[in-house]
Assembly symmetry: C2
Homo-oligomer: 198 residues x 2
């Protein structure tokens, strides 16, 4: 006896999610059968809705319901600074600090010759377009501290600096609350290099 078709299909769908294998997918599918009917309906509707109602902002590439997005449309924000991130999730994380008042630009990836991702595959062209606006004075590059993130930062900096726009990179160093004993050597090196006078 096979799984009844509806379960088999649901298991297959769960398995398409990252980090979910056959056993977990089966467990989730059986759990779904026992779930409250309203919850399952809401779940299904939400799935459809994220595909149908969300778009990329035509200015910054952030995920949004309205175009342009909330941040690009907000006239109280400082339009002279653009902070460049890899993913939408990074925008959410940065917005949580409630301190940064400038705009964002989401690359949707990083340069990675190994994976065949070149400058045309990520959202760089529209960033360069935005810089034609004379208001932009600074581009803060906040790609991750990985090899690809650093390479992308370097590439963007070489591309943007000749236009006379200030290019900065987020500081690297010890996390707040972290223990020197457990910090990796590259982080420690960055922390020493970036030391500041008290």
């Amino acid at each position: 006896m096979q799984y009844p078709a509806p379960i088999a299909k649901l298991i297959e769908s769960y398995m398409k999610l990252p980090g979910i294998g056959a056993k977990t997918a089966a467990r989730l599918a059986f759990y779904t059968i026992e779930m409250n009917e309203d919850d399952v309906t809401t779940f299904a509707k939400s799935l459809i809705s994220v595909k149908r109602d969300l778009h990329y902002c035509s200015i910054c590439g952030n995920i949004t319901e309205e175009d342009p997005c909330e941040i690009c449309a907000d006239n109280t924000r400082d339009k002279s600074v653009i902070l460049v991130v890899e993913e939408t999730k990074d925008v959410m994380a940065l917005e949580k600090m409630r301190e940064y008042q400038g705009l964002y630009h989401v690359l949707h990836g990083v340069l990675s010759p190994m994976d065949g991702t070149g400058p045309d595959d990520i959202n760089i062209a529209s960033l360069i377009n935005r810089l034609h606006d004379a208001k932009v004075k600074e581009v803060i590059i906040a790609t991750n501290a990985t090899t690809e993130g650093e390479a992308t930062a370097m590439y963007l900096s070489r591309l943007i600096k000749p236009a006379g726009i200030k290019v900065t990179r987020l500081a690297h160093g010890l996390s707040v609350g972290s223990d020197i004993e457990y910090a990796d050597e590259v982080t420690l090196l960055k922390a020493v290099e970036g030391r500041r006078e008290l």
Copy 2:
């Protein structure tokens, strides 16, 4: 900035699944945005379908599209033996061995005074009803080897034996391919008690 409403709702839905917390739910939601549209639609439809198209078999309590289920409706199967399991998943596991030809009965739980689950809360009444059929000669109890599983087996055996029906329990012992060194003492004890002559 909060997550846009469609993402926030999807994250909430993912969090209702077992073993998925806020961070994993957010990761899955963002992954969903990048998924193929057809896959997401199929996923949503499968969710609705498991709630709408699956029912419990009115005879054995197994999950099925048709009532009675494939197994109960199969006239080639041996109707003199009923194997009692805790969950539908157990039926699937037992069917994989392609050896057992009798019928099943799914309890949908075990007796657990700690959680307030009594005999009326699980699918026992319909099992007793099935035993009125004179064809039934043996009931194999295959609840799990947990305290609750053992207690349920004991309870069922006391209930069924007086009707003159043979009640058996699956053998406990070492798993095939397992190492004696790593077996727990209860399993070892069961293995010694249940030893067979070669």
